[in-house]
């Protein structure tokens, strides 16, 4: 059974907007394409170095630190966003 996603709270929605801005700027994609289910490789044309650059922007934006090893297995926007919010 598919896990039901909880609707985002206000703080979370605000954080996702910031996340989206970073993705739009770094990946040069349309904001509408940056949905939680979007796959970096398939939907956002982002390779592993794109992801590294995105994480740098996110570290700046959210004042967090993400180790390279934590990016392993991160394939979707949701996974990346959860990685970020886990550090807030």
């Amino acid at each position: 059974m598919e896990q039901q996603q909880q609707p985002m709270g206000e703080a979370e929605a605000e954080a996702f907007e910031k996340f989206k801005q970073c993705a739009v700027e770094v990946l040069q994609v349309d904001a509408k394409a940056v949905t939680p289910d979007a796959n970096f490789a398939d939907d956002l044309d982002a390779d592993s170095l794109d992801l590294v650059e995105l994480v740098m922007a996110l570290e700046e934006q959210f004042d967090i630190s993400v180790d390279e090893s934590e990016l392993e297995g991160v394939k979707t926007v949701r996974q990346a966003f959860e990685l970020v919010t886990s550090k807030l």
Partner: protein
């Protein structure tokens, strides 16, 4: 052009003939060969020669544009024009494994490196872009061009300062002459007009303090910095004829020598340049008396122009063939200069016109050359030569002859 040079009593082995079938250029006086040619015949600008209104968005998407250094963008735009000029990749119909790319540079992506060093000092090493290495590496322009056109033969970058362009064109032609390639995109690019680049050249007193580029002039006081890129399509002659390609010129000879003397000063009397020109003329199966025109390196530095003029006198006698330097217009675009001037020479042949040496008003009395000044002069069809010399003592010469 020879496939193998003579040595130890053995005669050289003649190579296949090489046609120039496409030209592309990005220069401060014009983007594209027509604007460039008009610029060469126009008035000299003042001060540093930057390429204005440059836009590579026809080649790169918005994401790539931020991740490709300016020097690579120059080469990519020039290559695109050259390939289109030659009729496009499909019309060339070349086996990808026999298609090469030789695009040199003097320095590479120095603007990117400089920006990223600033960023690192300000925000720490963790903020350095993961694209730094592929942006700054001197082989990036060649790599991008090979990927864009699917050319899988030799793809290399010659890095010999201001000789890089001419040496790339000569080496590219050799790949065709020797039979390794049927088509080579050969050229060079440079985008080093950054604060650190300018400071480096200024502090070695190579740059003009007057801001005037005056090749061979008595008052010349150094070179004026420029930037840009150019690419030529070099193609085996018979196949170019067979497919009905426009042939600008035959690339008939090329040579590369080293002064082995001093890291920045030319060898006394331009001896390395003499050897280079003589070898290039031999490579073309010609003698010095056949040469009707020389597109000189002519940087406007006291040392270069004197040594080059001495070398020209040694090879050709006094005053020798008509000489011009386009650097009065373009400034000195370092590694890009040789390819830009190879395009200028091909257009000189196509238009049967030698552009004048802008900025030259009072000939240095110590220089004994027949330099084209003031107005353009007609080019009498005949073998013509282009020189480039680089810090490190690198000399490059190519010989073009009108298509037969």
């Amino acid at each position: 052009m020879l496939a193998v040079f003579p040595s130890g009593g053995h005669p050289g082995i003649p190579g296949r003939r090489v046609a120039v079938t496409g030209l592309g250029v990005v220069a401060p006086c014009g983007i594209g060969r027509e604007a460039f040619w008009s610029g060469l015949l126009g008035p000299a600008p003042e001060g540093p020669r930057r390429v204005k209104d440059f836009d590579a968005s026809s080649i790169y998407g918005p994401k790539e544009l931020r991740r490709v250094d300016r020097f690579t963008q120059f080469a990519a735009v020039a290559a695109d024009e050259a390939v289109a000029d030659a009729g496009g990749v499909a019309a060339m119909g070349v086996d990808p494994s026999r298609a090469g790319v030789l695009i040199g540079t003097g320095i590479g992506g120095i603007e990117t490196l400089e920006d990223q060093i600033h960023l690192m000092m300000e925000k720490g090493a963790r903020r350095v872009t993961p694209f730094l290495v592929p942006m700054m590496m001197g082989n990036r322009a060649a790599a991008d061009v090979s990927m864009r056109y699917g050319m899988c033969g030799p793809c290399e970058a010659i890095v010999t300062a201001c000789a890089a362009g001419t040496q790339s064109v000569a080496a590219g032609a050799r790949l065709v002459a020797s039979g390794r390639c049927d088509v080579v995109l050969a050229g060079s690019s440079e985008a080093a007009m950054t604060p650190i680049g300018v400071a480096g050249f200024a502090n070695m007193t190579a740059l003009s303090t007057s801001g005037l580029s005056m090749p061979f002039d008595a008052k010349r006081d150094g070179f004026v910095m420029g930037e840009g890129g150019a690419v030529l399509v070099l193609e085996e002659y018979e196949r170019a004829v067979a497919r009905g390609a426009r042939i600008y010129a035959e690339l008939a000879g090329g040579a590369s020598t080293a002064d082995a003397h001093h890291i920045t000063a030319p060898a006394p009397g331009g001896s390395g340049a003499v050897a280079c020109m003589e070898l290039a003329i031999l490579d073309a199966g010609l003698s010095a008396a056949d040469i009707v025109h020389v597109n000189a390196h002519g940087t406007s530095t006291p040392a270069n122009d004197m040594a080059e003029s001495q070398a020209l006198n040694k090879v050709f006698g006094m005053p020798g063939p008509l000489v011009t330097s386009v650097k009065g217009i373009t400034g000195h675009s370092l590694g890009a200069a040789g390819a830009i001037e190879a395009v200028a020479l091909a257009l000189t042949i196509a238009n049967q016109t030698i552009p004048p040496t802008a900025g030259l008003t009072e000939m240095d009395p110590e220089i004994h050359l027949d330099v084209v000044t003031g107005e353009a002069r007609p080019w009498t069809p005949g073998p013509s030569l282009s020189n480039s010399f680089g810090f490190g003592g690198h000399n490059g010469t190519i010989v073009m002859v009108p298509p037969s």
